[in-house]
Amino acid sequence: MIEMFGVSKVYPGGLDALKDINLKISRGEFVFIVGPSGAGKSTFIKLLFREELPTRGQIFFNGKNITRMRNRDIPFLRRRIGIVFQDFRLLPEKTAYENVAFAMEVVEASSREIRRKVPQVLERVGLSHKADAKPSELSGGEQQRVALARALVNEPDVLVADEPTGNLDPDTSWEIMKLLSDINKRGTTVVVATHARELVNAMRKRVLQLDKGRLVRDEERGVYSNEA
């Protein structure tokens, strides 16, 4: 479902954030992306939903070359990918409920559907009681869970999460991981960039390890790190 051929990303300023990445992620997989800070994990994710264009190489999503995609088709690509951003990217003037509902408005869901699903998904991330709070009134972990709820609500083909537990305590992190695992079992492809060693080691899923922009490890049922 996601294929990359010789993908490199050089940011203006000369930094090679990704170098010659070749990989294939199939429908229904659960993939961890690990690697030290600045390794290129977020860049990898940004390429997937066309926040950034690769400098070289081709990226295919469901057989479509997204590096050649016309601007007006990009929104429809993004709707099939649910994204949890590392910096959350919540709309500051909208409440938690509205932030999640907005993702459904975008795909022109009916108001009935919205009223049904939004509370449901907020419940799943444990935020029903914060539905009416704005991002500035939420704790870091609460904001992160709103971002996750927003990514889930449209039942995307792929769920991409960049550091979805960075601001969460171990218990909540576990619940979130179980949630992602559930979703994955129902058929959604899940890609998670993370530093949560314990979780990665416990889940035993496919692990892609990046280091200074290179894909240095691609292991089924892998762990966070082969050293230590």
Binding site: P75, I83, F102, V106, V107, E108
Partner: protein, 290 residues
């Protein structure tokens, strides 16, 4: 696009107007300010033009008649002059009336005791000041007319001045209109700029350009509408006030009554809404391409 989505756009636009009430007020203020300035100048220049027209219409042709023309001849000449195309008004001034007027003018009976040396004459007004010269020429050719006077030279100069004043007014009008539009769109651009991150985020989660644009467009239109309505209110109030003062204190200047500006007011509303809508939808363009 579904109808329900449009409902959503309207709801979004109004919610955003209220949430960003501070910026909304700034935009409304900018629209109102710019249009108040533009409108004041428009009112001034339209009235000035009105006064100039008055001045122009004061220009008269005087045709002095030969002493030999009798009352039948005068009647004939009167109808001949009246039938010249462009002539609006013909008034006969008998030599006695002329003397009376002369006395009035000089203020004293200077010509007392001597024979009235002044001739009979017609005073002619034309419909369009541009026709003065040609009408004067035609009258000159009529039998019984000794001489025609219309302040040759002076009239041309007056028209010249009026022409330049009008041109200047037009130039300033265009400059003011351009500057007003700039001020409004500038302000709207800044309010959109303050929300650039919001626009980016919408795009990142899969909104189409138009989905992002519509609420802004509606919002801009509402801001423009309110702003221009305020401008119209203030201008109308101020104008009526001035109108009454002028009417009372300087009766010789006749200002145009407020009623005649109703169509301008509609134009203002249209301008306000147009700039508001297109200003905001144009301004978000650069934040949409992510």
């Amino acid at each position: 696009m579904r109808l329900r989505t449009f409902n959503y756009f309207f709801k979004e636009a109004f919610i955003s107007l209220i949430r960003n009430r501070w910026m909304s007020l700034a935009s409304i203020g900018a629209v109102a300010s710019a249009l108040i300035i533009l409108g004041s100048f428009l009112l001034i220049s339209v009235n000035f033009d009105h006064i100039l027209k008055d001045v122009e219409s004061q220009v008269e042709i005087t045709a002095y008649l030969e002493d030999t023309v009798d009352s039948i001849g005068i009647t004939r000449l009167n109808s001949q002059i009246s039938s010249i195309s462009g002539v609006k008004e013909v008034k006969f001034i008998s030599k006695e009336a002329a003397l009376e007027e002369f006395k009035q003018q000089v203020g004293k009976d200077l010509l007392e005791g001597i024979d009235n040396p002044l001739p009979n004459s017609f005073r002619i007004k034309v419909d369009n000041p541009q026709n003065v010269a040609s009408v004067a020429g035609e009258i000159q050719n009529l039998k019984g007319v000794e001489e025609v006077k219309y302040g040759k030279g002076v009239v041309e100069k007056l028209f010249n001045i009026i022409y330049w004043i009008r041109l200047l007014g037009l130039v300033i009008m265009v400059v003011f209109a351009a500057v007003s539009i700039f001020i409004i769109s500038n302000t709207i651009r800044l309010t959109v700029f303050a929300r650039r991150r919001e626009i980016n985020i919408m795009k990142y989660i899969g909104a189409t350009d138009w989905f992002v644009r519509w609420p802004f467009l509606i919002e801009g239109m509402v801001l423009g509408f309110i702003g221009s309505a305020i401008a119209i209110g203030i201008l109308a109030g101020g104008y009526v006030y001035l109108y009454n003062i002028v009417k009372l204190n300087i009766p010789m200047i006749s200002l145009i009554p407020m009623e005649e500006f109703y169509n301008y007011a509609l134009g203002f509303l249209a301008i306000g809404m147009f700039i508001g809508a297109f200003g905001s939808s144009f301004s978000i363009r650069r934040f949409l391409h992510v």
